[in-house]
């Protein structure tokens, strides 16, 4: 029993590749200001890694959240966060500010 578990755990470890390098990823910016994300329809390339910077230029903290992208990250007021995405399939992905849910936007991947 012990040995079988050890082999299982070891093979799980082997599955883990080295940490991803984001250097060659394309960079994009999304800005939250005056209760709006801009650009409201951001276009990102499909099937490659993307580095998305979310800037919060409002006085309130915000949370960049997307169930489509499976992301949930807090952004302090007048601060920015980095969101690493992809490789993504083509399609439209919705996101919103979890601290103010009516503020939302879409990302088109193609």
């Amino acid at each position: 029993m012990h040995r079988r578990f050890a082999i299982f755990a070891f093979s799980l470890l082997l599955c883990l590749p080295a940490a991803a390098h984001a250097d060659n990823a394309g960079s994009y910016v999304l800005t939250l200001k005056d209760g709006k994300f801009s650009p409201p329809n951001l276009t990102l390339p499909a099937n490659r890694k993307v580095k998305l910077t979310v800037k919060n230029e409002s006085a309130m903290p915000a949370e960049f959240e997307s169930s489509d992208l499976d992301r949930e990250q807090v952004v302090a007021a007048h601060d920015s966060i980095t969101v690493y995405l992809g490789p993504l399939d083509a399609g439209v992905y919705g996101y919103f500010n979890d601290f103010d849910r009516k503020v939302s936007g879409k990302i088109e991947v193609k």
């Binding site: 578990f5 590749p17 984001a22 903290p61 952004v75 601060d79 966060i81 980095t82 601290f99």
Partner: protein, 274 residues
């Protein structure tokens, strides 16, 4: 005001459910109030610290600070839960038997209580930091809406505590001889769900980037963003779009708990001299 209530309720619900289960799991044991209270207090302190250092955390580790921190904290909770689960399977029966005596053997259980306090603390910390940040932001921004927003926030906190009380009372209605089986199972499912979430955070940080394809999508049927979906997410780790690694983390945690319980749990009853 309603918006603030819903936001704070969403964040407190998860911690509330965990506290409800932990309280039920430690029913009738002397000293549990202290440990659970210590867990909550520690969690609130930690949450305030995390909220105060949100900026620093966001920029740490090349912008991956939040994810790595969440994954690490969740992993700690999983380890603690697994440890507690094994301990309970060993001592749950004798505790149930001693229930009417004045407290169970607390000394033997101290480590286990510490583990549960950490579990409670981690849940409060993770959800609480967002509540603190949100409410602090409102009071900083000031304006006419601030008082009503803060009232809404307080209402949300009260609702979250109400959820904890409801779950606790519901669990207490289970007969004592079954109670520890049920809470053990619930804690195991909680641990598995947290392990899956830790895996998701590592994927988000792209520390790990394997099996990223969604295995199924039940978001149309029960969205994880809805309140019932979120409650199930906390309780059994429901995820509307799990990827392969999340599923592996979930089943691996359950398997490890099962194997450990078979190995260490259910001790052969020692023959007692009459």
């Amino acid at each position: 005001m309603l918006a603030a209530l819903v936001i704070v309720f969403r964040e407190t619900m998860e911690a509330g459910l965990v506290i409800g289960i932990v309280l039920a799991a430690t029913k009738g044991i002397a000293g549990r109030g202290f440990w659970v209270g210590a867990g909550i207090a520690g969690g609130v302190c930690g949450a305030s610290l995390v909220a105060a250092f949100t900026r620093e955390l966001s920029h740490a580790l090349a912008g991956l600070g939040q994810q790595i921190f969440s994954a690490a904290v969740l992993a700690l909770a999983v380890v603690m839960r697994v440890g507690h689960n094994v301990w309970m399977s060993r001592h749950g029966r004798e505790m149930a038997a001693k229930m009417k005596a004045v407290g169970a053997d607390v000394v033997a259980g101290r480590c286990s209580f510490l583990a549960l306090a950490v579990v409670v603390g981690v849940s409060v910390l993770r959800e609480g930091s967002e509540v603190v940040l949100f409410l602090y932001g409102i009071s900083l921004a000031g304006g006419n809406s601030a008082p009503s927003m803060l009232t809404g926030g307080a209402g949300g906190l009260a609702l979250g505590a109400g959820m904890a009380a409801l779950l606790y009372l519901g669990l207490l209605s289970i007969p004592t001889r079954h109670l520890f089986k049920v809470t053990s199972l619930l804690l195991a499912l909680l641990a598995a769900g947290m392990a899956a979430q830790a895996a998701a955070f590592l994927q988000q940080a792209q520390v790990v980037n394997v099996l990223t394809r969604d295995i199924w999508n039940t978001s149309a049927f029960l969205s994880q963003g809805s309140i019932p979906g979120q409650a199930l997410h906390t309780l059994i780790g429901y995820t509307d779009r799990p990827d392969g690694l999340q599923l592996i983390a979930y089943t691996a945690t359950l398997s490890v708990i099962y194997v450990l319980m078979r190995l260490f749990g259910n001790p052969v009853p020692t023959p007692k001299t009459i």
